[in-house]
């Protein structure tokens, strides 16, 4: 029963949505899919808290055991629960909540993310070597587009703008479209496996 009920649930839910796509039957097309979609949105909202449980367990253990970097674990827990408490108490549109949001969360996330900007240039420097014809094509295209989309490149050679535009519209779109068609087939096969209950990875390790 521990496997059968979950498989039945995903079959019923998945099959009614797929049937609603093909068949013009109001129950499948409107009622079932509307309710199922709304329910899934609600259940997914509960899932947002799942990561917090793991995080709490790890950092409470770490702080209790005085593990590596334990003071930071305490900072993390204080920030998590303090901020959550503030949000539950005052709401997300509250000014104090947003003060911390704009003062800490936004600059912090933005800065960590912007480290990528440094890494990507040093990565380009290190890896854009003309080793073989494949690499040469990639590097050549990349250089044309890198220069072609900014003012300095276009000032040096005005044709660069249209060239990079052309690359984006034709060969790039062709490659992306090919990959996309392949990926669509993959998605169809995954969806089919889930609905028919042959894909069970998401049900976890059998104990």
């Amino acid at each position: 029963m521990r496997k059968e009920i979950p498989i039945a649930v995903s079959f019923l839910a998945g099959a009614s949505i797929v049937l609603g796509f093909f068949l013009n039957v109001p129950f499948f097309k409107v009622t079932a899919s509307r309710q199922l979609l709304n329910w899934a949105v609600i259940v997914a909202a509960f899932a947002l808290a799942l990561g917090a449980g793991n995080l709490t367990r790890i950092h409470v253990t770490n702080a209790a055991k005085r593990g590596k970097h334990w003071p930071y674990s305490i900072i993390l827990l204080v920030c998590l629960y303090g901020y959550l408490g503030l949000g539950l108490w005052r709401g997300a549109s509250d000014s104090i909540y947003q003060w911390w949001f704009n003062g800490a969360l936004v600059p912090g996330n933005s800065t960590v993310f912007s480290l990528n900007g440094f890494f990507i240039i040093s990565a380009a420097y290190r890896t854009w070597r003309l080793r073989n014809w494949r690499a040469a094509l990639l590097v050549g295209t990349a250089i044309l587009v890198v220069l072609g989309r900014v003012g300095i490149g276009q000032a040096m050679w005005p044709a660069l703008g249209p060239i990079s535009d052309w690359i984006m519209t034709y060969p790039n779109a062709a490659g992306m479209r090919g990959i996309m068609i392949g990926a669509a087939l993959g998605t169809i096969s995954l969806g089919l496996r889930i609905i028919l209950g042959i894909e069970r990875g998401h049900l976890g390790v059998e104990s």
Binding site: I42, F46, G108, L185
Partner: protein
């Protein structure tokens, strides 16, 4: 220089994290752990509002009784934290995975597969560039084929179609993919650099007024 404490906090975190580029240090770690904690808190808060407005309020205020179903399923999802009863979360996961699998299947079939195929066939053929697009799509698709006719059947049994497909996949397919990836790499540089610019602007314009507003 600004007197706004919020901007000072933001600048402190920004510089703290940037110092990582030089060396690992406590300042950077504090910033890092702070944002991990706050980020999770914010997403839980958003989830709470989701549940409250979509399920709890309709159920309690309007008497939509069947909203209890997703609420129970959602709560069961949390049984994963307790190893002994974690199997109770499986129906909820199944609902999520089943619905999202079906929704994705429907969309992929309609928009990605048929939509893109129709778009490829319908291209105006008097434009030579469109031929490049068509050939590129064919090449890329061939490159991503893993079972080719006559493949691996020994040198004596190679067939012509397999050879042709192999050739198309290697030359047309790989070159199209490489060009596409080159363009993507270039665009990513553009995107990522703009985030750095945003941070530098913040530090030197909003925090210390070095850059005029």
């Amino acid at each position: 220089m600004t007197a706004n404490p919020q901007l000072w906090l933001a600048a402190f975190i920004t510089i703290g994290i940037y110092s990582f580029l030089w060396k690992e240090n406590p300042l950077q770690k504090i910033g890092e752990y702070m944002i991990v904690g706050m980020g999770v808190a914010h997403s839980i808060l958003m989830g709470y509002q989701n549940v409250k407005s979509m399920a709890w309020e309709p159920m309690v205020k309007k008497g939509v009784w069947y909203m209890a179903i997703p609420l129970v399923l959602g709560l069961l999802l949390w049984t994963r934290w307790f190893k002994r009863i974690s199997y109770l979360s499986r129906p909820s996961i199944s609902l999520l995975v089943g619905v999202s699998g079906a929704v994705a299947l429907r969309g992929a079939l309609d928009a990605d597969l048929f939509g893109q195929l129709v778009a490829t066939i319908r291209l105006p053929l008097d434009n030579v560039y469109n031929w490049i697009l068509i050939v590129g799509v064919v090449g890329t698709l061939t490159h991503f084929m893993y079972i080719l006719p006559g493949m691996g059947a020994g040198p004596g049994r190679r067939n012509f179609l397999g050879e042709v497909l192999q050739f198309i996949g290697v030359y047309l397919g790989q070159s199209t993919i490489m060009i596409a990836l080159g363009a993507a790499f270039a665009y990513t540089i553009m995107g990522r650099v703009s985030v750095v610019i945003g941070r530098v602007q913040f530090l030197f314009r909003d925090w210390i007024y070095l850059i005029p507003k």
